[in-house]
């Protein structure tokens, strides 16, 4: 019977997907940097292979370490955004907030950052001052201090003006053990606000698309928001900072790490009208578009209301919403109930979401 044959094929595909990833390309392409399948394959096939150790394997936003009796979170991120200055912030804001957020969603209180700069010959000192001032202000707002750093200069034509790497360290003082592998059927999945603002802002700010809109980046430090959430719901199972790859990528990470199914509802996912308009115009799905000030939280089903209330009580979480649930059926797969009432899969993209004409 046809349905059985189809099921056999689907099972075969499922087994193929679980096989160990291998890099087939000989050269790095832009897809490898997009946060989707190509990035994951790269990380697993190259870096995990080379560095393999139990502290690295969870591949969470920050590593959780035991250091002299204290639980410490350590994370690093590099910022290569173009353009450097955009509505809502600049590369300096991202560099501080991004690292602060990776620490926060690991349950740590962010404390100290390092900042490494790679500067292009010819880059304006005035622009560099702007970036440094943004970082100063962002650090102050987040309550962290930048305590060490490095500077390199490369020839004209490299580094797009300025690349920044920040590493961050924080103390995990709460009795929490966060990780996407802890997700269980019945858990609720919550997003802290409208998705896609940052990625669309950047796409439009590049100026190539000639689109004007009142959209700005959502870059923000989430440590206060996270603290409020953990105070109200200590049993949070996992939190993730929704950056490159968007919310869809995190949902897939949950499904894969915990080997559970995920079902979300299109109607419940908050998206600003302008972000939706720009996405429709370009043929891009906001679920894959980067945010820089949003978190996705997995909480026990019974705590969902309390979690949402705690998030909404904070200025950065006023539009927090439950977008779906974790379930037993179809483990490893993320499904979406569309506004139209049908269902479809939400898979990882290979690379960046690309504007399409068709």
């Amino acid at each position: 019977m046809t349905a059985d044959r189809e099921q056999q094929v689907l099972d075969r595909i499922d087994r193929a997907r679980r096989r160990r990833p291998r890099i087939r390309e000989e050269r790095i392409t832009m897809s490898h940097g997009a946060g989707g399948k190509a990035t994951q394959t790269l990380i697993e096939a190259v870096f995990l292979e080379a560095f393999r150790n139990p502290l690295l394997e969870p591949l969470e936003d920050a590593a959780q370490l035991l250091l002299g009796g204290s639980r410490v979170a350590l994370t690093t991120d590099s910022y290569v955004v173009k353009p450097l200055f955009f509505p809502g912030g600049d590369i300096g804001d991202l560099a501080v907030n991004g690292t602060v957020n990776d620490l926060s969603v690991s349950g740590a209180t962010p404390l100290f950052l390092s900042a490494g700069f790679i500067l292009e010959e010819g880059f304006g000192v005035a622009d560099l001052n702007r970036v440094a001032e943004s970082m100063r202000d962002a650090a102050a707002a987040a309550g962290v201090r930048i305590v060490t750093g490095d500077t390199k200069v490369v020839e004209r034509g490299k580094a797009d003006g300025c690349y920044i790497n920040t590493a961050g360290v924080g103390l995990i003082e709460r009795d929490v053990s966060l990780g996407v592998a802890r997700a269980q059927p019945g858990d609720a999945i919550i997003v802290s606000g409208p998705i896609g603002d940052h990625g669309i802002t950047i796409m439009l700010a590049r100026g190539e698309l000639d689109i004007e809109a009142d959209i700005c980046s959502d870059t923000a430090p989430l440590n206060g928001l996270v603290a409020g959430l953990l105070d109200a719901v200590p049993d949070v199972r996992a939190m993730r900072d929704a950056t490159r790859g968007g919310v869809a990528t995190i949902l897939n990470e949950i499904a894969k790490a915990a080997n559970v199914g995920v079902l979300v509802s299109e109607d419940e996912i908050p998206v600003r009208a302008e972000v939706r308009g720009a996405s429709e115009l370009l043929g891009i799905d906001p679920m894959y578009v980067a945010c820089e000030g949003r978190l996705v939280a997995v909480v026990p089903g019974g705590e969902a209301d309390r979690a949402v209330a705690a998030l909404r009580a904070h200025p950065l979480g006023t539009r927090a919403a439950v977008i779906g649930h974790v379930r037993d059926e179809q483990p490893g797969i993320v499904q979406l109930k569309t506004s139209f009432g049908g269902t479809r899969i939400v898979d990882l993209l290979v690379g960046d979401p690309l504007p399409r004409i068709c």
Binding site: D210, A213, E274, G277, C358
Partner: protein
């Protein structure tokens, strides 16, 4: 095969007659309306946008007619369901 999005014409370009600023859900872009030169759109009218060009005007009457048909079906369906529900109660 074709990503075409409806947008509302906001204003015509003062200097270039084949360009118009179009709004899609709060997002604005200059769109080339040269393909509609026989009957150029005016602000307030809606057009179908594809790769930066307006391919066609959206006929509001036809859209309303389409909606009416769908609503009619929807209403008939609801009436049927209601009738079904009532008839079940013996």
């Amino acid at each position: 095969m074709c990503l075409g999005i409806p947008g509302e014409v906001i204003e015509l370009h003062p200097e270039q007659p084949d360009l118009a600023k179009v709004d899609v859900s709060g997002v604005r872009r200059l769109v080339n309306i040269g393909l509609l030169s026989d009957d150029p759109p005016v602000p307030g009218e809606w057009v179908l946008i594809h790769v930066g060009f307006a391919l066609s005007k959206i006929d509001e009457r036809e859209a309303a007619a389409a909606m009416e048909f769908l609503e009619g079906i929807g209403q008939a369906y609801e009436d049927e369901i209601a009738a079904l529900r009532e008839s079940v109660i013996e």
